[in-house]
């Protein structure tokens, strides 16, 4: 499971995830950009969608900011906010899971790592979700799996487009097989939406790994990623241990994913909203009718 690799990496290589998330910092604070080491004024960072004006480093964003970045102002209405983890395995090895969840809930104010709801993007009705890396590494347990599944079901029922901003360390191991099965569950819901001819656009942000990448994240009709986002199945440290040599520059970066044919493009944060709106304009034009064919894209 790559979450840990991820943290390891961060320590070792000064990776570009910052522990302080922009959305949670007051405007009057100065911070150092991990991309160019320049000192930035948080007010400026916030005004530029949390992108460094000097080196284009994309800072981590919290889920609500992710959604706000994409939807028409005031259009978002959250659903399923009352879902919380039940610690079904009473997982207490090393650090009790219940405690991790409680701490995450307190520090983030979220009920779990996924925030989902209804909104419009340029007037197009969407079922939108975003994952928040601050919450147990945005790993997918029963709650995230259920919320993502319900989001796809909502899209199907109300003939909305599905849009998800994905970040995740992978499956939430503290819920064991219940977590692994969420991969199949979310994939099944995504497949149902696809068979109904409704569009799904995913946006992969830094970092997206493990069982989340290998399920709903990449089953979208169109996949975009933010610049520099790292996306993969196995975490970089595990890959390095496996092949016993150092990884090539840019390995698992959004830019290399384009080269390897895995995603449709790298999109600057400031341009995401326009790009997604344009895509939905194409794929939701016939939302009212039934599709000519259940394509296998």
């Amino acid at each position: 499971m790559p979450i840990n690799d991820w943290f390891k990496q961060r320590e070792r290589r000064r990776y570009t995830v910052t522990s302080g998330v922009s959305g949670s910092l007051p405007d009057g604070v100065w911070r150092t950009c991990p991309g160019c080491r320049k000192t930035l004024y948080q007010g400026d960072v916030a005004r530029s969608h949390s992108v460094c004006p000097h080196c284009d480093h994309h800072f981590e964003l919290i889920a609500s900011d992710r959604i706000a970045l994409l939807v028409d102002e005031g259009s978002f209405a959250e659903i399923d906010a009352g879902l919380t983890s039940a610690d079904p395995l009473r997982f207490s090895a090393a650090k009790p899971y219940a405690q991790s969840v409680r701490a995450a809930r307190e520090s983030t104010g979220l009920s779990d790592a996924a925030v989902t709801g209804r909104a419009t993007i340029d007037g197009v009705p969407v079922a939108i979700g975003a994952l928040d890396f601050r919450f147990v590494g945005a790993s997918m347990g029963s709650v995230v799996g259920e919320k993502v599944t319900r989001l796809f079901e909502l899209a199907l029922e109300e003939r909305r487009a599905a849009v998800i901003v994905v970040a995740s360390g992978g499956a939430r191991m503290q819920e064991g097989m219940l977590s692994l099965m969420q991969m199949a569950k979310t994939a099944a819901a995504a497949e149902r939406l696809a068979r109904a001819g409704l569009p799904y656009v995913s946006i992969l942000v830094n970092p997206t790994y493990g069982g989340v990448t290998a399920s709903f994240a990449v089953l979208a009709d169109v996949i975009f990623a933010e610049p520099g986002a790292l996306v993969g199945f196995a975490g970089p440290r595990l890959v390095e241990q496996t092949i016993r040599r150092s990884l090539p520059k840019g390995f698992q970066s959004a830019e290399s994913l384009v080269e390897h044919g895995m995603i449709d493009g790298v999109v600057q944060r400031g341009e995401l909203r326009g790009r997604v709106a344009t895509v939905l304009g194409y794929l939701m034009a016939d939302a009212a009718g039934t599709p000519a064919v259940a394509g296998d894209v």
């Binding site: 499971m1 979450i3 840990n4 959250e78 659903i79 399923d80 906010a81 009352g82 879902l83 919380t84 983890s85 079904p88 997982f91 090895a93 090393a94 650090k95 029963s142 709650v143 799996g145 499956a171 939430r172 191991m173 819920e175 064991g176 097989m177 219940l178 977590s179 692994l180 099965m181 969420q182 991969m183 199949a184 569950k185 994939a187 099944a188 995504a190 497949e191 149902r192 493990g210 069982g211 990448t213 290998a214 399920s215 994240a217 990449v218 089953l219 996306v231 993969g232 199945f233 196995a234 595990l238 890959v239 496996t242 092949i243 990884l247 390995f251 698992q252 390897h260 044919g261 895995m262």
Partner: protein, 321 residues
């Protein structure tokens, strides 16, 4: 070939070896020997009972990885006839870590898909020790679609430590290949029966690892993460895998309790490798029994029930948002 000894069996094996030594001595020349042998035999018996009576999760993981444990190839040759292998993803390669075939079980035509560990080192190298590359999953998906097209039920056999975490595997879209298997399998219009015969390592197992029925062998495991990696994350120490194995709820029993697996095929004391034939036969009849039930169901209903089955998995609290 010397018998492969699992860590937890060592005390028993040492006692058994001592017993064998005594038995090799000349009974006539040593008057107390017969009694001593009898004592030791009782002790071996007692230890064997306690050792194998209730294996711990970590012990079961070791049994599931036993090199002599019956593998996909053994099930294939013992249970299936008229086997025609389907090879390749029609795009990049043929991954020997996953096999797909047209095959006949008790007169019923099916498509079999299974992880394939090797029996020899040479075989294991060719098969990457049963850890699939993306093209393995893409071949599996091709076989699933073929099954759908021709109305053949799908039987899958799980036995992998996991999808291979190699550099090229990442570059060729390991996550994409797995996700597409999941999507396809979730909506396949034919019965899908899954059997956990050995290791069930995370996403690489899940890609062919869910359907209308999940049958687990008593000592097979199925886990979101390997006990070693979990221990590494929790304790920075792979030696504490036993604790992780217990915490992860990865045994057949756990899976039934969690509502993920349907039934368990018992194994002889010590594991299926001690006496494979009856275990393999039992698996065959369980698959047939499951297919007997499922074959009566039309495809729309199968798809609906499979979805509902997945839909029900997950434990959470819900309050008014």
């Amino acid at each position: 070939m010397a018998r492969f000894v699992m860590e937890f069996e060592r005390p028993l094996v040492e006692l058994e070896e001592k017993l064998a030594e005594l038995k090799a001595l000349d009974v006539a020349s040593l008057p107390d020997l017969a009694a001593e042998i009898e004592d030791l035999e009782r002790e071996v018996e007692r230890l064997r009972d306690t050792l194998y009576a209730a294996l711990s999760p970590w012990e079961r993981v070791q049994v599931s990885r036993h090199p002599e444990r019956p593998k996909t190839d053994d099930y294939l040759s013992a249970l299936f006839t008229d086997v025609v292998e389907l090879k390749g993803d029609r795009a990049y390669g043929d991954d020997e870590a996953i096999m797909a075939a047209l095959a006949t079980l008790d007169g019923r035509r099916v498509v079999v898909i299974g992880h394939r560990k090797g029996r020899t080192t040479k075989e294991n190298v060719r098969r990457n020790f049963g850890s699939p590359h993306p093209e393995g999953f893409r071949k599996a998906r091709r076989a699933m679609l073929l099954a759908a097209k021709f109305g053949l039920p799908v039987v899958t056999l799980l036995d992998t430590a996991g999808a291979y975490p190699g550099l090229e595997d990442e570059e060729r879209g390991q996550a994409w290949a797995i996700a597409e298997c999941l999507a396809t399998l979730s909506d396949l219009p034919v019965p899908v029966v899954v059997v956990g015969i050995g290791e069930g390592g995370s996403g690489g197992a899940l890609a062919i690892g869910f359907g209308d029925r999940l049958i687990m062998l008593e000592n097979a495991y199925y886990s979101v993460i390997s006990p070693e990696m979990c221990a590494m994350i929790l304790y920075k120490d792979t030696a504490r895998a036993a604790e992780s194995a217990s915490a992860l709820a990865l045994t057949a029993d756990d899976l039934v309790r969690l509502g993920i697996a349907d039934e368990i095929v018992p194994e002889p004391p010590g594991g299926a490798h001690r006496d494979p034939a009856p275990v393999i036969a039992a698996v065959g009849s369980r698959i047939s029994a499951a297919l007997d039930v499922l074959s009566g169901t039309d495809s729309a209903r199968l798809q609906h029930e499979r979805y509902e089955r997945l839909r029900a998995i997950g434990v959470f609290d819900e309050s008014a948002g």
